[in-house]
């Protein structure tokens, strides 16, 4: 609806205006930051990435979540100036954790920023989220950061909030990453403001397997199948890698890619849960919605995290951000 140049800024202004108690848009630094810093100094958490994946990451800034988010242009990682401003804002003297999704742009820009910030005396720790298991395990490079990013932000955010130190928060974040896997599929391509048309064409009766965010197409195209078959596709590889057979309690996220209606999302998550249950595995928590998106793509990303007591407790603890809120 708007000129491509202002799309991101207008979004950020709108987000700030809608959630003034929780976040603020620092226009000069172009970051979204918690409205007020906690009374007790805590480990800072920041993340960032290309815009167009809303509510990722700005929607997860607030109590129990991120301290600041760096929104890049549409599908473009943020620049170090933003990341460094976010670092400085989030640093309360106890160090800052960078939650980085495994995309070249993020690795490099957060990496450059970390080097500079460390030289300025700020303790920085980095985790790289690569939960996408649509690529085989020997192609780790290609495994993108998907829905587990939200879980890292929620759970490590809770650890920081309760007072854990930087290495503890980092360890929790790594534990979440190690224990989560995602898989995505999509029925079309999004339309970017710059191109003004879908990035790629997809025949009506086909869909993509192994889809990411940021306009990525999947790496396998298939003829349309039933919701039941789609659930199987989404579960298969995560179940293998996380050994659902032995790890019987999961946190399950099902995110629409931006234009997937709620009725379809819940339908699919219901089928997924039923399939898990019939194998003796329980989704002890389920989160369904547009959690990590790709503009107006029609598709889903399913994320599974093995839930032990520690992670579950941190997951359940209060959060108050524009897009996730409970317990407060």
């Amino acid at each position: 609806m708007n000129a491509p140049e202002v799309v991101v800024t207008e979004y950020l202004l709108g987000l700030e205006a809608a959630h003034p108690e929780v976040i603020e848009f620092n226009q000069e630094s172009r970051i979204i930051q918690r409205r007020s810093l906690p009374s007790q100094p805590k480990v800072g958490l920041i993340s960032g990435g290309g815009s167009g994946c809303e509510p990722m990451h700005s929607g997860y800034v607030g109590f129990g979540g991120l301290d600041a988010a760096c929104p890049g242009e549409i599908f473009t990682s943020p620049v170090p100036a933003q990341i460094m401003a976010a670092t400085q804002r989030a640093n309360m003297g106890r160090g800052v954790l960078y939650v980085i999704k495994n995309f070249g742009g993020e690795i490099m820009n957060f990496g450059l920023s970390a080097e500079i910030m460390k030289r300025k005396g700020i303790e920085i720790s980095k985790v790289v989220v690569n939960d996408d298991c649509s690529f085989p395990a020997d192609q780790l490079d290609r495994r993108r950061g998907l829905g587990a990013t939200i879980l890292v932000e929620k759970i490590a955010g809770a650890a920081a909030e309760r007072g854990d130190n930087l290495s503890q928060v980092t360890a929790i974040a790594k534990k979440v990453i190690a224990n989560s896997r995602s898989f995505g599929i999509a029925f079309n391509s999004c339309t970017t403001p710059k191109l003004g048309r879908p990035i790629f064409e997809m025949p009506e009766d086909e869909f993509d397997i192994g889809t990411g965010i940021g306009g990525d197409r999947g790496h396998l195209r298939s003829k349309m199948v039933s919701a039941d078959d789609i659930a199987d596709i989404l579960i298969k590889q995560p179940a293998l890698e996380l050994d659902f057979a032995s790890n019987k309690r999961l946190i399950v996220l099902l995110s629409g890619l931006g234009s997937t209606p709620s009725i379809e999302l819940y339908t699919l998550s219901g089928i997924i849960q039923k399939k898990l249950e019939s194998n003796g595995t329980l989704a002890v928590r389920t989160l369904v919605g547009n959690l990590i998106t790709s503009l107006d793509s029609f598709g889903v990303i399913a994320t599974f995290l093995i839930a032990d007591e520690e992670l579950l407790e941190l997951y359940d603890s209060p959060i108050n951000t524009p897009s996730l809120r409970w317990g407060r």
């Binding site: 491509p4 290309g50 242009e73 599908f75 473009t76 070249g104 490099m108 710059k194 790496h219």
Partner: protein
């Protein structure tokens, strides 16, 4: 005949480059749509517009300072993979030309060699991964040969330019192993890499800048 570059020539180079990629914005976006996310043209043009704006008021005596300024401006305006990579390239140029007000082919070749290494290190790529390295690396190899052959600067960059264009075209046959294109695997084959295309423009505009040079050293 230009034997060396100084800050004004370097700035001419960058201006030519900026104007070139701004002109290529849509084309580069289209190339990126085929293998990636359709915004390489916009990313690099954003940096180009920022640079052109900054050039209006910037002033540097030494090449090292100038290239550092270029690198930092790109890093902090472009974003994505290409911002960090292009920025790093210029930061490496800055390292090699530190405290120098001019640079000859040998120094420039060292600088480009270091720039290439910087990109390969930061991006974790090798030639053949279908990235901008596949345009830059042949250009740098050509420069190295030119130094050995004592080519003059213009000769050297004319050859380097052809090498870059050739390398860029060759990316069409490659399967992407880094960057967004890599998610497509085999499906990336058949498309030219957008980053290699903008990188070829960087080499080409260098020869343009020294060919049309109006500076006192000329």
């Amino acid at each position: 005949m230009t034997k060396e570059i100084n800050v004004p020539i370097a700035q001419d180079w960058l201006k030519e480059f900026c104007n070139a990629v701004i002109g290529l914005e849509d084309y580069l976006n289209e190339l990126d749509a085929a293998v990636g996310d359709g915004e390489h043209g916009s990313n690099i043009s954003t940096g180009a517009r920022t640079l052109l704006e900054e050039f209006k008021s910037s002033h540097h005596e030494e090449l090292g300072d100038f290239f550092e300024f270029v690198g930092m401006t790109i890093i902090n305006s472009v974003g994505g993979a290409s911002g960090a990579l292009y920025g790093t390239f210029f930061l490496r140029l800055s390292d090699i030309t530190a405290n120098k007000s001019s640079a000859d082919l040998a120094v420039i070749t060292d600088a480009f060699t270091s720039g290439l290494q910087g990109i390969m290190e930061l991006g974790g790529v090798k030639p053949g991964d279908k990235t901008l390295v596949d345009a830059l690396e042949p250009a740098v190899s050509s420069l190295v040969v030119s130094v050995k052959n004592s080519d003059d600067l213009l000769q050297a960059f004319s050859k380097a330019h052809y090498a870059a264009e050739f390398g860029c075209a060759a990316t069409a046959q490659m399967e992407a192993r880094k960057g967004r294109g890599s998610y497509q695997g085999q499906r990336s084959v058949g498309h030219i890499d957008p980053g290699a295309t903008s990188m070829a423009a960087l080499v080409r505009t260098f020869s343009q800048a020294i060919a049309t040079d109006r500076s006192p050293i000329a």
